[in-house]
Symmetry: D3
Subunit: 333 residues, 6 copies
């Protein structure tokens, strides 16, 4: 059985038209709603989509044998940097509601991972209301956290800063994992949102490991997307600093979990070797950025299960851990 | 025959989902397109819409006897203040293309009024490329100008400033009128976009009349939306200043045109008396803000033709001028 | 009997030379005072003034039959945006003292309306000390409030914001009305102070009516200057929003009072029709902006009593209410 | 004969009321004028003034035996940091006109020194128009330059910067001296305008002497007010730097002139010794800051001629140079 | 023979005391110089250094068998973000002079790589004067470029921006390679300078490959430090974007060179596989960050030659290319 | 016996290389230390130094007969405006430690005056920890205070502001004097750090004397460096303001102490006359800015004892007070 911990919801255009409306009237029309019918929701899952290489979301999952996918909001649509903050609240809740309805429409296929209304105009403690609603009322199994709610326009506090503690507290109290995954990226940053994901993950790993977070929250479960940014590849650079503190950096790395959302086999191998198979979770972000066929191999670029299958040194137990049991234990599925 | 000079396009959710996507990826996915089928376009015109009091766009026009409506982009969706500027270009062009397709789908019912890509990151001279495309290639009959492309976040140059001259030049060269109509309004402004319309129209009228614009562009044809903001009602306040220059302010007011988009009869009467019937054009913004039935009268609030019909002192010639011939002459329809 | 609720004090040049001195030494010379003799004060009331069309303040009142005028500081001189705040305190108190002395010099002719030291560097609660002094010690009958103490340079909190509650509290406690009237207007705003009055009144009316102010302060008495800015003329635009809340916007408008300081008869008629005669107060701002003779009619532009007299449908009781009793009741004169 | 090179005009309150009006309407009332009668002008010179210790301007001059005084605008009223720039133009010209009228009203007693419209929103080259008008049309004998037109709110270019070259060029072309004298001082500066004078003079002397100004403008004549700020007293500090360049700092100091506007004898003696009697000019700033009687001595504090008389080592020729001939030569009186 | 393309100069404390002096007097003491004797220079190379694990610079090279090392300034000392710009000029030149003297003191052991005076207050064209001096007069074989001269305080133009073209032009004209290597990193950035290196290299690779730089400068030779940041590990993420343009991202990666300065074998292997052995250069940054012994292996962490030796699949020709001939050809050594 | 209250420590280059390192790694390398051996410390005192005119620190003292010198950090190196604040803490403590070691290495020759870690990012109360350490643990006899920790980049609170009260409290509690002495000066200020000293001392004297500081801290002992900036020379300017408060400014001046660090005899004489010999302390800042021989006299410019010796009217008791006993009493030596 394949459990994919890194999927994003596929929603119909009404959800994003709703967002566009919020950004246009800035609240003057009231909260309203996206007004999406079940038919339109189903169509968004079942109909072929040019953005997904001409296949539907469910067809992608079926072809890859993904039995269960954890789905969160499309990160780049999160609009965390928009103002006033209540717009972020409204759109986040509307999106989480769509995720919940999708989970109900396709029972067994999906579980929800909550987006948080991360406006920097509000205190992180207020973000956790939506987290509680999603976990306690809607049955979500985790949350997604954007380490840069400014979306590239200013420097936020690093993840090691006490600013984030209200979120860690709520996660520990609810006992659910959180997926580190940034959102949009606006000028004056030099990178697209997609490269920003990598930069933010690098900062997240180092920011967390050089802080007191895991001392203060020993039960906190953090999953870093896209194989941990640059860190596994660059981990040697952090070895001397750790040694000076009497630690080994590779041990520190194992305080976190990482998904396998990397599109080359050698990178996945490096990740598995660097942090250990037991700290890795199968994740594909499928369908999404990688949903294009490589003309040389004929494979979908995001067919990460094939890349893992190609790794010869993994034994069956390790494969099962990677594809299923690590996720099952961490998310208590 | 009724010609309504102030309508906005009704487009399907795909157009605004396209906009939401641009604001999310900030160009990283390329320009792409909204991907709207003719069926979805037609549905947006023919299907009942809760935002329009449960009627369709075309049903509204039919009920009010509007034979021809000039349609421009929905102003509050214009996103002029978004960055980088090419996003504004892309969305404006996509919207104008939708207007063009709507005009073709319902021949005789609509004529296009062009939105302009008014990013303050670009020179106004560059905005006129889209104006030329719409008029010369798509057959549009006029343009809409937002006097506050900052959308409430900063003070733009007043309409009397030379900043705007490239736009006036292009309008004169193409010999088409322009409708003054602001767009969104963001914090820190204290008003909603809808009240911002009124404030900006007030500033526009006074800014233009106290400038050299009509000396420098004697053939420029400017229509101010919503009955000219506060100015006709407050016009006495400007009389002394004009007298000091040997002018009468009421004469100056007649350098502009005004639409009748006011929802009370006394206001329309005041407007007609203040600026003259020959300077007024029938405009409804229908369906839109006023598309709600007044429970006391049973009328749609935006049934402006009924308010005009109620004005007893208008003779037939004036009514015809107001409902049809003023627009026909100004827009050369 | 005519009671004019909207007059401003005419003071000799020493008062404004005092202000110029404060702005020059920024407090280094201490508070000092304007040093105005009674003779100079009387001259400012009795002597012909080129700014007033060559007539004196008292001659204007006599000619218009104004028996009692409520006088406040000249708003455009208020210097609320100057720094440090104590300069605003000093000049406001000096001006209120001049008003008080004028009231004493011409007994029966004038009553004081207090200016407030509205520096945004200080808390509104501190502004009310001067309000109390004027009402409790100097016998003033009301206050004037500037909704934009930044004078066009930044966006202040809207009048519905809790920021203003200390002022509402003091007004209710003292049981005196307040006249909404903005002051100066500096760059980067696009409008002169005179047009700024209108813009701010529009914002004030809508800001107040869309807030909880009258729920929280049911006894608050607010008079909006210059006929309520754009709102009576544009009131239809706000009808749908009110209907959605189960209200009628025209009822809401009647939570406020309005003065008749409009210089065209049709505007005054529209105002009376829109808000009701019982919500209107005779106000002229005389002598001031409108103190110029219209060469066509030979009338002073600010001869608002003549405009009202021209309105045929007003009956005697309504005229008396408008000219006298509404003011008498509201201000308890 | 005593020639005092450092006096400021005493004008009636109308001039400053005019300034207050400009700052209130920010140009909306047009340029207008202060409207000062000759009687009011004369009164400002002849009437006892509490700001001047209860004596009139002319009485002060008579008592001190000042036969001729060069008068410039009151510096702290200059409002150079106000916006828009045309307000500075208007007020500067109005003040210079008052100076001109005063010179004509009291022939032989006064000669004019021009204020410049030093708005930092305009180019220094434009300031020189008023300089030319004053010298060529009104017969003024010099100008006053404020090295800090920002009046303490920002750092201006130092006097050695090329920014100031258009002023130096015009001064050389017109062949008139310039008096360095700053104007107002606003927060966030820590000093009053009066202490700001001293700080700016210190910066001016060092800024000029460390620059190429006197190489590029060998004929430029600059007089530094108030005895050169701190520099003569602190001159030893600048000796090593000059020596490293093969210069003596005391020689450099003699590129400038200094007035004697210091209120203690030892300070004047130090100045004379440091820069040489031939580089000093009798200046009193009388009546002004120092127009108060010292209770111990009974003298006016600004009776600088008495302090000079007390200096025993000055011979007659030196006294004459100081009191008269240095000024006569420099200003060509 | 081993050629190490990534070394930094070891200079005595006088060089950095010189820098501290510049930052203290901000130029008031003039340019001066560090005043370093040959003895002190030699000591900095030969004496054991606690920052280098208790060994000397030369001992490190000898132990690793590095026959020739290319040395550039210590990047984190570059002070590019300091002001005024001439301080950056002075310190950069002083440092390059020290590098030149070190090359002369130890003939055959070192070749110089020039630091550039990259103040954002100056135009990049002015930076190339120092580049020309180093290459043409001092015999340097390349340059080092900091893609973030703001050192973390603001967003600089991306490396694909035309801003950088004057540098590319000079490099092509001189026909020398450039090493991309950022410098310091100040608040508000969330990362240390060392992690900033990685983030900036990631941005550099993607910024360059998505731009027209290699079309406009086909002969430009750019070496990215530290194995290219995150990109080789994350390269799959960029495959779909390249495919949409008809390119393969791995081909694009081969437009650049990369050094092997990674401290784990798997990372070096991944790099070699991703970009090809012919695009990799032996680089150690030795002695430096990695000059600490790993207590498990007993090896110096920066003994990169040992890591490479451990890679079994490299044949002799490839090893020679990596250790020597690639560098020899690229730098024409 | 000569006691010099105004000396600064001469430290080897390692101290400033340590500072340069802190500014380069911004704390990433940890606090570390300058690693200065006793030999290097001694060399910095005993070896001829080109910055000191080719003599050593101790040779200067010997030649001038200075038996005891109070030494503080080199002010221009203080880096108070650098960020983050802990860098200022570290460097200040390192410098004070060096001062302490120098005092121990040359017993009887030196006593310490503490630098304070005056980052504006921290509260002044936190600065006093280092003050207490120096006085209570290291035996320092006073402290040095920089009135402008922003080093010319912004306006700090004036010395009369309550902001500084925690420092005054600690000084009174420890019963040690404080020397007012500013540090560096960065753009946008127009002056070098050396001229900034004078400007800041002027502001300090006036700021203190116009405040409540000496009412609130009657036992506070403040010494102003460099003869009090401009104030003794310009003191007449402040006489009228004091008289208006019933005070004499010269009495007020005597609330402070002043050192004689002025390089011309007339200036020292003026100082002694203005404030009284009992308020003056022998101070030379030797070796330093003035350590250059005057080619005319052959004297060192900073041979202030010779200037004092040249003052004929001083009697022996006054000389002893000036050279020794005033300092001995104030600092309790």
């Amino acid at each position: 059985m394949f459990i994919d911990v890194h999927g994003h919801v596929s929603a119909p255009s009404e959800l994003y038209a709703y967002k566009a409306g919020l950004l246009a009237h800035r609240g003057a029309h009231g909260r309203g709603g996206a007004g999406i019918s079940d038919d339109r929701l189903r169509a968004a899952l079942h109909e072929p989509n040019p953005s997904f290489g001409g296949e539907s979301h469910l067809a992608h999952l079926a072809a890859a044998g993904i039995d269960l996918q954890l789905i969160s909001p499309r990160p780049y649509q999160a609009m965390h940097s928009e103002s006033p903050a209540f717009l972020v609240d409204w759109f986040t809740a509307e999106t989480n509601d769509v995720i919940h309805r999708v989970c109900q429409l396709e029972p067994g296929q999906f579980r929800g991972v909550a987006g948080l209304p991360q406006s920097m105009e509000t205190d992180p403690a207020t973000w956790t209301r939506e987290l509680r609603r999603c976990v306690q009322e809607l049955g979500f199994v985790g949350a997604m956290l954007n380490p840069d709610p400014y979306e590239g326009t200013r420097q936020p506090p690093g993840l090691g800063d006490r600013f984030w503690y209200p979120v860690w507290e709520a996660l520990c109290e609810l006992d659910v994992p959180v997926l580190i995954h940034s959102a949009g990226c606006r000028a004056p940053a030099r990178e697209s949102y997609s490269l920003h994901f990598i930069q933010e993950e690098t900062l997240a790993v180092i920011g967390l490991l050089q802080s007191a977070v895991f001392t203060d929250f020993p039960d906190l479960k953090i999953v870093v997307s896209h194989g941990g940014g640059a860190v596994p590849y660059q981990r040697g650079r952090f070895a001397p600093g750790a040694l000076r503190k009497g630690q080994r950096f590779e041990d520190n790395l194992r305080k976190l979990w990482y998904d396998t959302c990397l599109y080359t086999r050698d990178s996945i191998e490096l990740l598995l070797g660097a942090v250990g198979v037991d700290r890795c979770l199968f994740g594909t972000e499928k369908p999404g950025t990688g949903s294009m066929r490589d003309p040389e191999t004929g494979r979908w670029i995001d067919d990460i299960h094939l890349l893992i299958n190609d790794i010869e040194w993994l034994d069956d137990k390790q494969r099962t851990a990677l594809f299923e049991t690590n996720a099952r234990e961490l998310f208590r599925l």
